[in-house]
Symmetry: C2
Subunit: 178 residues, 2 copies
DNA sequence: GTCTATAGGTGGATAGAC
DNA sequence: GTCTATCCACCTATAGAC
């Protein structure tokens, strides 16, 4: 990805995480990126195309991180690795995380497919690991609870107590999950 | 609240939960409510005023429900009552819940005060109960984990498996929390 | 108190110079 | 490939009839 595209993507992600997709205009994105508005459309075709590309990039990265974390591990160890990996990803990519949370429970939008993909792939990986760690429980609801505990704790950490360490936050989440 | 105001509020909440606040126009709200656009502005002053009123109403209801649930109980019993009460509220008011989640990690918007209030009052009630149930743990991070597990499971329940019963979902969340 | 009509501004998107 | 200038649809909000 060239320099102009990179700058546009980063500026857009920052603004969109803070205000929401619809509340962010292409004018604002172009100004924050230091390019003309026309360059945004030349490089990404449309606002929806830009958002789609940002989301697709984040989806691929998050899915890979979660699957890699659980690979080769079983039971509780796999679960702990996944929770830690998700917290790491939230910490490394807070803007992407915020966008996903904000858009996750909506329907019928242009970029809905990418959002649904994150949800399904992340939750799917969690469900597999949870089903193996606790075979007697409902994997679907349990995975949602584990994912939710990790996600919300991670975002609260970033937004309101960023000085905490990853180990501290991971330990708190894992202690809460039995 | 009279009939016109009630209709506008309900139409607005339904649309906003699905598309987001900024992506919902006053035209659409008026059409869904079956009133003229002018009536929306006559009754609520502005779009922001309408949103503010909807959020304030929901905040008061949710806070009261959580505090009432925990009143007179201690330790694990208080925790279980609160988790169940939050799930009940999500089930009874799914649109409000979606809006809160979508807007929770944003900053600097007109209605940000109401959102922050839900977060602080809900998390505050959870923190108090958690601190008493598990005195040796970090109350702040633990409360975030418990709240997140309940919230995300509740929303996934509504959005993707609405046929499950409240008892079933509450049991799954509480089993996951040790 | 609710309606219709319209004002005034901003949104996404395009055309054409460089 | 990036810019400036512009189009037109849509947005919030207001004015005035009823």
């Amino acid at each position: 990805m060239n320099d102009t595209r990179r700058q546009i993507v980063e500026a857009a992600l920052g603004l969109v995480a803070d205000r929401g997709i619809s509340a962010t205009s292409v004018d604002e994105i172009a100004a924050a990126a230091g390019v003309a508005k026309g360059s945004v459309f030349y490089n990404f075709g449309s606002k929806a195309g830009l958002i789609e590309e940002i989301l697709a990039e984040g989806v691929a990265r998050l899915t890979a991180a979660l699957q890699e974390a659980a690979a080769g591990l079983e039971g509780r160890a796999a679960l702990e690795a996944m929770v830690t990996a998700l917290l790491q990803q939230i910490h490394a990519h807070p803007d992407f995380s915020k966008v996903i949370v904000a858009e996750s429970f909506r329907t019928g939008r242009l970029w809905q497919d990418s959002i649904r993909q994150v949800r399904e792939e992340s939750m799917g990986t969690f469900t597999t690991v949870v089903a193996q760690a606790w075979p007697q429980r409902d994997p679907w609801l349990t995975a949602a609870a584990v994912f939710g505990a990790t996600l919300v704790t991670g975002l609260e950490w970033l937004a309101f107590q960023p000085d905490r360490s990853l180990d501290e936050v991971a330990a708190a989440v894992l202690t809460t999950l039995a």
